[in-house]
Symmetry: C2
Subunit: 530 residues, 2 copies
């Protein structure tokens, strides 16, 4: 059973070793486990529905509570404290495009606001229920989770927008295909959610961002159906797929998604490479991506993340052996770990491995084989479980991510970490901040930073701490010219920073599009823009 107030399945724990706990105490001081509300307590906070009788919306308190929140930090505090409101007045669970259209029509008829819901994994507040005099409903696409059509010659697959990662791949596999979109939220997040938030998966280097995969879609808008895409490429005016991508529910409800798929590759390896310091490491990954090597992933951890990952892994003996080996090869403190994915036919993988390791060597990189890579691949979607374990020890965790051109990467990364480390200084609290670069482009890369700090033990105080941290870090990103999000979207949490990026006229364009398709402003109000 999926956790109602955290990440993942209830049976699934990410145990922290004693050594890992010692590492955190050393960095942040001792912590106090929180007192979380129970589900029963939380259910007490769900008020009566304001919907009239006879709509297709379910109104029982449990289903409304389970759709009230995503996984943003404010969502997390709301869940853990049992105060998940405001709640939608009802939840529709359509199983087809037509049922979804009908739910939207009913919502419109009763004057309701609509919050579209997919896998419930948003980390920036896309799913927050607005406070309104109008009723509010969720339209959840979770039952629209089937493969609807396959075009084997054009390598296209059409899916219900609510299909989550594992069900996509399981339904494509019998056809010999895979999609290859693997964000960390893969187990729960859905193809429709990926499209409307412009998601990017861990192996985007091979498979592309969701923008490159999204070939066509059906959108139910308050004014009727909009179909976008369908041809391989076109010069017939602006590309309207690119308005749906990142529209975050403001333009309508994406119900069906056609994606570009690939044949299942024969071989996939993940190699570990250690570099003596950050400055050579970043030049090495830039050289690899600009040489157009057909790698499937480059994921470079900075010094602090490298150390943190090795400590949290919970195998101190193996790490000592690794360090002894790296020491003999001249790599000591300040080392940076690169995880390198190579995917394809046996011949291609061999070729790319050779080419990539040759570049790594030029930058003093030391190859440590596939053991660390295997372990990374095994745990690739388990990272968010750590948030449960840390919280239960008394530590809060959040992440931010951005992207920027190569000349700005290091300064922005240092700036983000510095801003985070100083954010709670007035409380005399430290923040443990570490970073990796996870999505590489010829032009630049993404920067993904994680922050761990001690929970205050009180929801209001914790929210205030987080807000200070988030503000400091977001302002740093804006000041350096980074995008406010490379892969999570805008939602509520990033909306204040979007105008700096799009400009006043750019915001006007986005608002004009929403006004055109949603004249009554019923679709996901407050998200993306106020």
């Amino acid at each position: 059973m999926r956790r109602w107030n955290g990440w993942g399945d209830e049976a699934d724990h990410f145990a922290l070793s004693e050594d890992a706990q010692a590492f955190l105490t050393e960095r942040l001081g001792p912590s106090r486990p929180p007192r979380d509300a129970t589900l029963e307590q939380a259910l007490q906070t769900v008020p009566d529905s304001r919907l009239p009788a006879g709509t297709p919306f379910q109104t029982d308190v449990r289903v409304r509570l389970l759709h009230a929140r995503g996984q943003s930090f404010p969502d997390w505090l709301a869940m853990r404290s049992g105060q998940l409101g405001p709640y939608a007045d009802g939840v529709a669970l359509p199983t087809s495009h037509d049922e979804a259209a009908q739910a939207l029509a009913v919502a419109r008829r009763v004057g309701a606001l609509v919050v579209p819901y997919g896998g419930g994994t948003s980390v920036v507040g896309h799913l927050s229920v607005p406070v309104s005099d109008r009723p509010v409903v969720n339209i959840s696409l979770e039952r629209m989770n089937r493969l609807l059509a396959v075009d084997e010659r054009s390598l296209l697959a059409t899916l219900g927008a609510g299909t989550p990662g594992p069900q996509i791949e399981a339904q494509l596999r019998p056809h010999g295909f895979l999609l290859g979109h693997f964000p960390q939220s893969y187990e729960y997040s859905t193809v429709g959610g990926w499209v409307v938030t412009r998601s990017s998966g861990q192996q985007s280097l091979r498979y592309g961002r969701i923008e490159q995969m999204f070939a066509a879609g059906r959108v139910i808008t308050p004014r009727g159906e909009l179909r976008v895409g369908g041809v391989p490429a076109s010069s017939a005016g602006p590309d309207l797929r690119e308005l749906i991508l990142g529209s975050e529910g403001r333009l309508g409800l994406l119900t069906e998604v056609t994606v570009r798929v690939r044949r299942i590759p024969a071989v996939e390896d993940f190699h570990g490479v250690f570099f003596p310091n950050w400055d050579v490491a970043i030049e090495a990954v830039r050289a690899m991506v600009q040489a157009d090597l057909p790698l499937s992933m480059l994921r470079l951890s900075n010094e602090v993340e490298t150390e943190t990952q090795l400590r949290l892994a919970g195998h101190p003996e193996r790490v000592r052996w690794l360090q002894r080996y790296l020491g003999m090869r001249g790599i000591q403190r300040g080392q940076c770990m690169l995880m390198m994915g190579i995917t394809g036919s046996a011949v291609e993988v061999r070729r790319t491995r050779r080419d990539a390791l040759a570049i790594a060597k030029r930058f003093r990189g030391v190859h440590v084989g596939k053991t660390l890579g295997k372990s990374w691949a095994k745990n690739r979607f388990r990272g968010p479980l750590l948030r449960n374990s840390l919280w239960e020890l008394g530590y809060a965790v959040d992440t931010v991510e951005t992207a920027v051109n190569w000349p700005k990467v290091t300064a922005l990364m240092r700036g983000i970490e510095q801003a985070a480390r100083e954010a709670l200084a007035t409380d005399n609290e430290r923040v443990h901040a570490f970073t990796h670069l996870s999505h590489m482009y010829r032009q630049g890369c993404s920067i993904y930073s994680t922050f761990v700090w001690r929970a205050a033990g009180d929801p209001a105080a914790d929210l205030e701490r987080w807000r200070r941290l988030k503000t400091r870090v977001s302002e740093t990103i804006v000041a350096h010219g980074g995008t406010i999000s490379h892969q999570h979207g805008v939602g509520l949490d990033h909306a204040p920073y979007l105008p700096a990026e799009k400009g006043a006229l750019g915001m006007d364009l986005i608002r004009a599009a929403a006004r055109e398709l949603d004249p009554d402003q019923m679709m996901n109000p407050g998200k993306l823009f106020a």
Copy 2:
């Protein structure tokens, strides 16, 4: 000196051999050379300017005539008949973003309509001057042709939007870079024009469409400046670059363009491969592109184009030798020629050549070496010159292009040719129609058809013939679900077919964007949408 009433430089002729002329007579019947107007006669048709004195717009008749038209078929008839009007009342030739902004501000102040002008190569009517009670001005970016900045680490170059292909590459070369955008109009068309019409170059398989190259831009809109792009990737809402791409001047004036560039490759080869028939040939190119081979070009001519190209080449003796060789290898009538570009380091080129020829062989393809490829590469931008030569013999030429998913390619290609061949039947005139596939995607490909027919010798009759042909062919494209343009844009000629592709709500979105940035509808009215 550039031709005022045709393609290319006045000194540049594409002579047709006697054999080539015989081929046309055989297909279409004997032709009669037309009587074209002289420049002096044409200049007589330019009326007085309606602009007030003291604006930055040049009003002399010659400059106005030289900016009145593009290269669409109606443009061509207008030029050849010396009736190029309507004419703009003045032409601004700014040399910087600020001067361009000033020209637009003056246009706005005097209530003028603005037709942006780049290289004058539009083939779908982007440059037509509207008939209006308001004055009309051209803002030509042809003097904004300089490389403004290079970011060597991020592989970015910023250019004046009016920079044509050869000047882009000449200015990048000293930095060791190239852009790699080679549409057939390369010698004259500009980077800004490529962006606002979503252009695609001959080697898009390696370098991508202009969409993939366009990293950032500055747009002067009637409401002020809009900047788009700048980061390698983002999930911060809809991508506004994608609204500028294909905006055809309706949203504002694109003045500066930042493009993604590459290091100059060491080796570039073009190989010829012949297939015994169309059905295996198309399966071969689909296999190549879906195998992700790093080719730089795949250009597959159908049976009629293969025959036509070999006949028009003007070397009957060499062609006979080629046919003798192909015959021994089992390739006779119905043969299809593939031109295959391979670009990169020496190692990569060797590897890709081997992989691609192995696939070709599986489909009974016969490699004929690099001779034909060298000749193709030498003449790669000279095709449009043929239009001059044919016209002067009495033949009219036009092309259409679309893109569609793989399962529909052959039927649409046959349908286009059939529609064209029948279009002039009521006049007892034949149309010689032939096709190649020039841009390959995993999902499908573009289809590029050329039509040659006898000119009637009278502008009105010729326009009517063309309109019948264009309508029949465009309706066929729409009926098969093809895009109305893969690489030329919409302009005037394709505007009637855009709603079938975008849908009513999609058109509303495009109109809403234009209304938002251009409330007085001064920007390029009538293009893209009515």
